[in-house]
Symmetry: C2
C-alpha cells in the first residue's frame, strides 16, 4: 500500500489539513514543521497524486507545444531547448505535431485546454486569427504575428535575408536565385524574401524566386525545384535558400551536376541547425538564435501565466556564419 | 460561464449520472439518448474537464517518451512517428529529454507516475535495472534489453553491422575502420560493432575501431576522432559509422582533406534519417525501419495497458541503402 496523506499526518502528529498546506504551499506553516512533514514524506515514500493536486490547485505545471513536425531539425532543436527551460522551471511539455493538418491542430488546442495546460507555445501555420482568439489561454507564437494581443518571437527575418543576399553579391554573384517556402502563408519568414528582392534591386543584380509546396518539408519537392532552376538558368551563380535543409539539397545536386561550390556557384542557408556544420563543404548560413528564441518564448509564457505585462513584438538578431559555400 | 454537466442534464431532461455515463463511456445507454446528450454538449459548447475525468476514470490517455534528446535526428524522427500513432489512438505524448542526466531521468519517471501516465516509452541509457523494475508501469524500451519482463524494440543491429561491413569489403576496401558510440554502455547497438569485427576477421581484412564519448552526440568529439583516424592511418579506404550523423562528419572531413568519396575512401552510415539522402554525395546507409519501430513500440505499450500478453524481444530488419558513398 502506498503511503497516504493520512499516514504522513499520523507520523508527524498533525492534522491532514496541515500536511495539505505543505503539499499545496498555501497558508502559514513554520519552517521546522514544514521540514518535519517533508522528511516524513520521504521516509514513507509518499507519492502525491499530481492529477488530484492539479484539480485542487488549478495548476497543472504543463505546457503544450504545437509545431508542424518535430522531425524537421529546426523544430527539433527548438523543442529540445524549450523542454530544457520548461524542466528548469518544473514544467512538463506535451508535444503536438500538427503535420499542417488544421483539424489536428484544433483538436490539440481543445485537448490542451481541457487538460488545463497553463499555456501554449505555437509554431502553427494553418489556423486563423478568429480561432486563435478563442483559445483564452496564455499563448506565444513563433514566426507569426496574429494580433497585437498575442506575443510572438522570431529572428530578424528581414535583416537575415538582407545579410544573406548581400553576402552573395559581395562575393561576386551576378545572377542569383532564392528558394523559399510558400509565400502564400502569412508567415513573418516571408520577410526574408522581401529583403532578397530589395537587395538584388538595390545592386541592380538579376534575380529569380522559386517557391516550395504550401506546407514544405518535402525533399522530393525541393529537388524538383532545384533541378528546374538549373535547367532553366544554367548560369545561376548564387542561391539563397530559406532553410538549411533546402541548402543541403542544393549542395547535393551541385555535387551530382559537378558544379563546384563556391567557385562556380555560391550557396547561403538560413537557420543554423547543427547539420549546417556537417555539410560538404560546410554551409554559410544565417544562424537563428534558436536557444534564445526558446528561452524568450518560455519566459513570455511564464509572464502571462503570472499575470505580468509582456512585450508583443520580440525580434532577435541573427548571426551570419560565413563558412565554405560562399 | 462555461456549461456544466448539470446544464446538459437539464437541457436533455435526464439525471447528471446519465450524462456522466455518456462522458465516461460506462454502463448501458440507448443510442438515441446518447446522441441527444452529445448534441446538447455541442450546442452548449460543453468542455469536459479532462483532469477531473482522469481522476475519476484513472485513465489519463497520456504516455511519456523519455529519450536522450529530440535534437538528435534519429530520436526526432522516432518521436514524430510515435506522436502520430499516439494521436491516432487518442493518446497524448509528454516529451522528456534526459540529456543523459540520470537525475533528470529519475525525476521524469517519478513525475510521469505521479501524473498517471498510462505507460512509458524509453530510450534511456543511464538508469539501471533495479531502478527500472521499480517503475511498475507499462514500459517499452528501445535498443536496450533490461530484463525478460520488459519488452524492447530494436533494429537487427548485428545483421545491420554485417551488411555494412560486407558492403565495404565487397566494394574492394582492404583497410577498414569503424567509428562507434561508446561500447561501455549496455546498448543493443553494440552488436553493430561485434558484426563489424567478425566480418573483418572472416574476410581477413585489417581493421580498427574508434569510440566516441560516453554519451556521444558531440560533433567536435566526432571530428577529433575522424582527424585522429586519418592522421594515424592515412591509407584507410573504408569506414563504417554507427550513425548517419557521424558519417556526415566523415564526408565533410574527406571533402576538406580532398579524399575522393567513393573512389579513394568508402563510407557507410547507420539509421537512414532523412538527411542521409541530402549529403554530398548521398550516403550509403543501413536504414532502420523508424516508422515500424515506433508503431510496434506503441502497440506493445497499448497491449500492456490493456493487460494483453506481449512478446519481449522485438527485432526488426533493416534495409541496406546503397547510394553514392560506396
Amino acid at each position: 500500500m502506498p503511503a497516504t496523506i493520512k499516514d504522513i499526518a499520523k507520523k508527524v502528529g498533525v492534522n491532514v489539513s496541515t500536511v495539505s498546506r505543505v503539499l499545496n504551499n498555501r497558508g502559514y506553516i513554520s519552517d521546522s514543521l514544514r521540514e518535519k512533514i517533508e522528511r516524513a514524506m520521504i521516509e514513507l515514500n509518499y507519492q502525491p497524486n499530481e492529477v488530484a493536486r492539479t484539480l485542487f490547485r488549478k495548476k497543472s505545471n504543463m505546457i503544450g507545444i504545437i509545431i508542424p513536425t518535430v522531425a524537421h531539425p529546426f523544430f527539433a532543436e527548438l523543442c529540445s531547448h524549450l523542454e530544457d527551460y520548461a524542466y528548469r522551471h518544473q514544467y512538463k511539455v506535451v508535444l503536438c505535431n500538427s503535420q499542417h493538418d488544421r483539424d489536428k491542430e484544433l483538436m490539440y488546442l481543445n485537448y490542451l485546454k481541457a487538460n488545463q495546460v497553463e499555456g501554449i507555445l505555437m509554431g502553427s501555420q494553418t489556423i486563423n486569427v478568429a480561432e486563435f482568439s478563442k483559445i483564452a489561454l496564455p499563448l506565444v507564437t513563433f514566426d507569426r504575428a496574429i494580433s497585437d494581443q498575442i506575443p510572438y518571437v522570431s529572428s530578424d527575418n528581414y535583416e537575415g535575408g538582407r545579410m544573406a543576399t548581400e553576402l552573395l553579391i559581395e562575393k561576386g554573384c551576378r545572377k542569383i536565385a532564392m528558394i523559399t517556402g510558400s509565400l502564400k502563408l502569412p508567415m513573418l519568414s516571408n520577410r526574408r524574401h522581401d529583403a532578397f528582392v530589395e537587395a538584388a534591386k538595390k545592386h541592380g543584380i538579376w534575380y529569380t524566386v522559386l517557391e516550395t509546396d504550401d506546407y514544405g518539408f518535402n525533399p522530393d519537392n525541393y529537388e524538383g525545384i532545384i533541378m528546374e532552376l538549373f535547367s532553366k538558368y544554367p548560369d545561376i551563380d548564387g542561391i539563397f535558400a530559406s532553410s538549411d535543409v533546402i541548402a543541403a539539397h542544393i549542395l547535393k545536386i551541385c555535387h551530382q551536376l559537378n558544379k563546384k561550390v563556391p567557385s562556380q556557384i555560391k550557396v547561403v542557408g538560413y537557420d543554423g541547425i547543427a547539420f549546417s556544420e556537417a555539410t560538404a563543404p560546410p554551409l554559410s548560413t544565417v544562424r537563428q538564435p534558436i536557444r534564445e528564441i526558446a528561452e524568450l518564448a518560455f519566459d513570455l509564457l511564464m509572464k502571462q501565466i503570472n499575470h505580468e505585462p509582456v512585450e508583443c513584438v520580440n525580434i532577435l538578431p541573427n548571426e551570419l556564419k560565413i563558412r565554405q559555400t560562399t
